[in-house]
Amino acid sequence: MSGAISVRDIRKSYGDLRAVDGVTFEVGHGEFFGILGPNGAGKTTTLEIIEGLREPDAGEVTVLGMRPWPRNPALLPRIGVQLQATSFFERLTVREQLRTFADLYRVPARRADEMLEVVGLTSSAATRTEKLSGGQAQRLSIACALVHRPDVLFLDEPTGALDPQARRNLWDLLRAIAAEGHTIVLTTHHMDEAETLCQRVAIMDHGKILQIGAPAALVRGLAHPVRISIESGLLGQDEARAIADGATVADDGVSLTFTTTEPAPVLTRLADHKALTGLQVAGASLEDVFLQLTGREYRA
C-alpha cells in the first residue's frame, strides 16, 4: 500500500437521499488533502465513513492499511479527529480538557501542555472552555485531535464559524502542522481555504466528486480569461483599444478592465505606456472551476 488513505466507490443513502454516491480517491502520506463543496454536498458523510463513524452501504475504505469500520481499536490511536462541533467535557478548563484527552490516549500530561503552547493557548490554560472565543475553541479542538501525534488528522470544517482574522490564524497553525509531516484531510466550503491550504482538492457536489487535482492545476485547466484592471482615465479609449488587441475592454468610470486569455502582451503594453496605477490582475479561482463543472454559481 502506498497511500495513507484509499477510498473506493463508497456509497451511502439516507432514504431517497444519496448523500455519498460513488466516491473514489487516494490520499498520499503527508499530503494535505481537501474535500470542497457547498453544504449538503456529502463532504461530512464521506469524512465520517473514512473515520469509521458510519458504515458505507457499499465500497471500501482503508486508512493506514486498516479498515475503519467496524470500530477498529488498532487504528484509533493513529488517527486524530476534529468534528464540526467543538466537542468538550462540560465545565473543564482548557488544560484539564486537553489532559483528559491525553489520558484517553495514554499520553503523558506533559505532552498536553506542549500542545497548549503549539496552539497558542498557554495563557488561557485556566479558562473554562465555555468562555473561549470561536477561534480559541477550534484551536483547542485541534490540539485535542493532535495530542497523541496521530499519523492522519481529519478536520471537518475547522474554520466554519470563524471571523477572517481567526481563520487566518488557524491557517497558519494548520500549515505548521502539515509541515510536520502529518497527513491531513480537511473538508471546507470555503474556496479560498482549499486554495491556500491544500495540495490537492476534491470538488464535491450532490454526493459525487466532480474533479480532483491541485488547486492551481484545476484553475489553469479552465483556460478562464484573466481580468486586468487599472485606474480609469489613465488611457484614452483609442489607446486602450489599441493595447487590447482582441481583448474586451470595459470602463465603469472607476476601473478600466481588460478581459483576455493572453494577459502577457496586455501587461507589457500597459507597462510601456506607464499606465499601471491601481493595477489588479484577477485570474480564475476554484469558484470558476465550480461554475464550470456544475453550471451554477458557487454558494456555500
Binding site: G52, V81, S87, L92, Y105, R106, E114, V118, C144, A176
Partner: protein, 377 residues
Amino acid sequence: MTTSKLPAPPAQAEDVSPRTRGVNWQGFRSLSRAMFRGFVRDRAALFFTILFPVLFLLLFGSIYKSSSTPKINVVEVGRVSVLDQARAASRQLDKVLTITHTSSLAHALNDVRQANVDAAVQQQGGRLIVHYSIANPTTAGVVNSVFSGIVQAANQAASHRPAAYQLSAQQVEDKSVKPIQYLTPGLLGWAIASGGAFAAALTLVGWRKNKLLRRLRLAPVSTTSIVTARIAVSVAVAIVETFVFIAIATTPYFGLKLTAYWWMAIPVVICGTLAFLSIGLLVGALAKSQEAATALVNLIVLPMAFLGGAFIPLAFAPQWIVKVSYFMPLRYLVVGMQNVMARGDGPASALPAMGLLLGFAAVLTLIAVRVFRWDEI
C-alpha cells in the same frame, strides 16, 4: 499566533497501539475525574441533587417532629383548683396541656373563638366549665376527654377510696420508631433516584448534542469505560449524600437512632443508584434535548416518590398506594434502607430489595442499549 515547531514525533506510535487491548484504566480515571469536576462545578446540579433533598429533610424533619407531640393550649380564667390539683398529682398532664392564665372571661372566650387557644376553663364551686370551639373537631374531642378525665380523677380522690380499675396505656409499635426514621430513608431514596436518573440522562443527551460521544467513539476508550466512569461518579455522589443525610438525621435535634446493621444501607444505595442510572440511560437514549430529558425524568421520578413510599411512608399510605408501590423500583430502595437503618432487621433483609433493583437495572440497560444512538439524525 504561535507557529512554533511541533515537538518531533518520537517512535511512540508502535508501543501505543498494542496497549489499546487491555482495560484503559488511565482513560477510565480521567473520564471519572472529568465527570466529577463537571458535576461539582455545576451549581444547579449540586443544588438539586444534594442541597434540595437535604432542605426537604430539614423541613419535613422539623414538621413531623413538632406534630408528633400535639399539645392543647388552655387558658385558665381566675383560679381553677381542680386543674391545679390534677397537675400536682400527675406530671403527665403538662406534656399534654400548655396553660396560661387570665382574669377576664371575655378575653378568654374571644381567644377560643379566634382559635388562639384550644379551650378556656373556669371553676365555679364544684363546677368545672370548659369553653371550646368545634372548629377543630379533633382538638375539641381531646379537650373534652382530658377534662372529663380530670373531673373523674378529682371525684375519685374526693371519695377517699382506692380506685377499682387502673388504666395502663402502651404504645404498640417499637418505641424507637419516630418519623425521622422513615423520613430519612424515604427522602434519601428520592434524592438518590433523581440524582442517578438525571446524571445519566443529561450526560448522555449533552454528550450526544455536542458530539463528544462521537469524539469518544473515535478515541481508544471503550463504551464500558465510559459507562463505568459514569457509574463510579454517581455511586460516589450517592454515598456522600447518604452520609450527609445520616449526619443530619442523627443529630440530637432530629434524633435518628441507627440500628445495628445500618451499614447494609450502602450496598442498597449502590444497587438503587444502578437502577436509577439505568432509567436515566433509557431516557437519555430516547430524549432529543436536555429539556426533554429533564421533563421525562421528572415525570418518572416525581410520581414514583409519592407512590413508592418516599414522600408518603407506606405505613400511613392508603391501601391502593401500597399495592402500586410494589411496581416502583423506588419502593425497594426506600424499604431496603429502612429495614436495615431504622427497623433493626438483619443484613440479609436487604438482599431481596437489592436483587430486585439489580434485575431492574439489567433489564432497563438492555432496552437502553437497543434504542441507543451515537448521534442525532
